[in-house]
């Protein structure tokens, strides 16, 4: 099993970056969207260098699911400013585009926020939460991601597993990297796409493929587990939105994301 750093490593080449997509970071037979964003973001950080080391805002549109194995990331500078630089990044496999991203790079810090309107949520302690297994009895497919990203979730949002779907479309809990390392701006991109999707909590079976995901990384996270909440506003027209929020172990809001996913109620 590879660490997050190993699984997202990229090598500069003549025309971009080469990645080796790791089959462990997957949901069913599909590589995890947040993992793919982290691989792309590592390539962008390689292009941006020390002046703009961190992803500040990143949107990825998913075009076709890549397979584990070799892939390339093409990174193009759109504009370099003093405090931020903006990039287009494309994930390709066998010459076919798999995902395209717009990335704003900058510098994050952990100074006290000027204002915050969302204090960390009240959640049961980690040892009162359910540590999700990657291959639970009765599941439609294994979620290998859960072996590398530990999800300890509030049982209140997991009634669906007992045939009692949630009515409020809310999932929450604690996240840790199984390799024992602390969260960083790149791995936060993985945590912003947690399991299970809200659709499952609402009783909708099956995969909920992400159409587009937008992540804002706000601060450098403190060491320790993340507190995560994810909720949906609406499921309509075969599509669901999800908003994920992450607070670090000191209670600071460190990252947020929205995604639009396809569902089949």
């Amino acid at each position: 099993m590879h660490s997050f750093t190993e699984a997202t490593a990229v090598q500069p080449t003549a025309d971009g970056f080469r990645a080796d997509l790791d089959p462990q970071w997957a949901v069913g037979d599909k590589l995890h969207g947040g993992y793919l964003m982290a691989v792309v973001a590592r390539a962008v950080a390689g292009a941006a260098g020390d002046a703009h080391p961190h992803p500040i805002a990143m949107t990825t549109t998913f075009l076709r699911p890549p397979q584990p194995g070799e892939a390339t990331v093409a990174v193009e500078l759109l504009r370099a400013g003093r405090s931020t630089a903006q990039y287009r990044a494309r994930l390709l496999q066998g010459g076919e585009p798999c995902a395209e991203s717009l990335v704003t790079q900058g510098v994050l810090d952990d100074a006290a926020p000027w204002w915050t309107g969302l204090p960390a949520p009240e959640l049961p302690a980690e040892d009162e939460c359910l540590h999700l297994p990657s291959n639970p009895p009765g599941a439609a497919f294994p979620v290998h991601l859960l072996d590398v990203v530990e999800h300890r979730l509030d049982p209140a949002g997991l009634g669906f597993a007992m045939g009692r779907p949630s009515k409020d479309g809310l999932v929450g809990g604690h996240l840790r990297l199984a390799d024992g390392t602390d969260w960083d701006p790149l791995s936060l991109l993985v945590a912003l796409d947690p399991s299970p999707p809200v659709s499952l909590a609402l009783g909708i079976q099956g995969w909920a493929p992400t159409i587009s995901l937008t992540a804002y990384v706000r601060r450098l996270p403190a060491p320790g587990p993340l507190r995560m909440t994810m909720r949906s506003a609406q499921v309509t027209g075969g599509r669901m939105d999800e908003t994920a929020l992450l607070w670090d172990a000191k209670g600071a809001l460190v990252a947020q994301a929205v995604q639009l996913a396809a569902v089949r109620p």
Copy 2:
């Protein structure tokens, strides 16, 4: 004064679409981000045709502010599927890129949602709200946009105008197009970037330039005014997030957006 349809008109050319950016759709001397997105989205809709007529998800990264006048939109197909098609669109002026967008096109309807977790908010009636003027006494710059998009806002969020900034980072109210037409999926992109920014409600003076804005259009809106709320989760590191939500006159959630903007507290 041009209608929304006139102000966002585009003409197909040999290598894209030509637009004539309208100085009326501006905040101070900067063209409005939601307006620029609507112009780009109209070009994408022209390229997508009847198979995928509506913007479903759109992210725009703003690179440099264009001036009123001639601009071009270059539209490139990334992937065409059955239910959706994905595009890259670039707004250029004088050959310089001003904004780049990722757009997922599809078909919207107004069928009852399968599930909704955000009922329309309680707001004072339109005639109990404050109709924002475009050039109020003491303002740092005129907001010409307010002459074409009528904002009737809940006075609770406008204490900043009396020197009493909000503590909760929330703005809400009712929006109508001044030209008397009803909202449609393109004009919703304008409404998703309302005035004032939450930063102003929090007491931070000055322009809050959008770094990146992500809009999801969820349904065809019913005729009549929109109910809008916008809130921020955090202001830190010189950046603010804003989440805008729009419900139509029948109380259905029709669109949502997040943006990251630069601020100087």
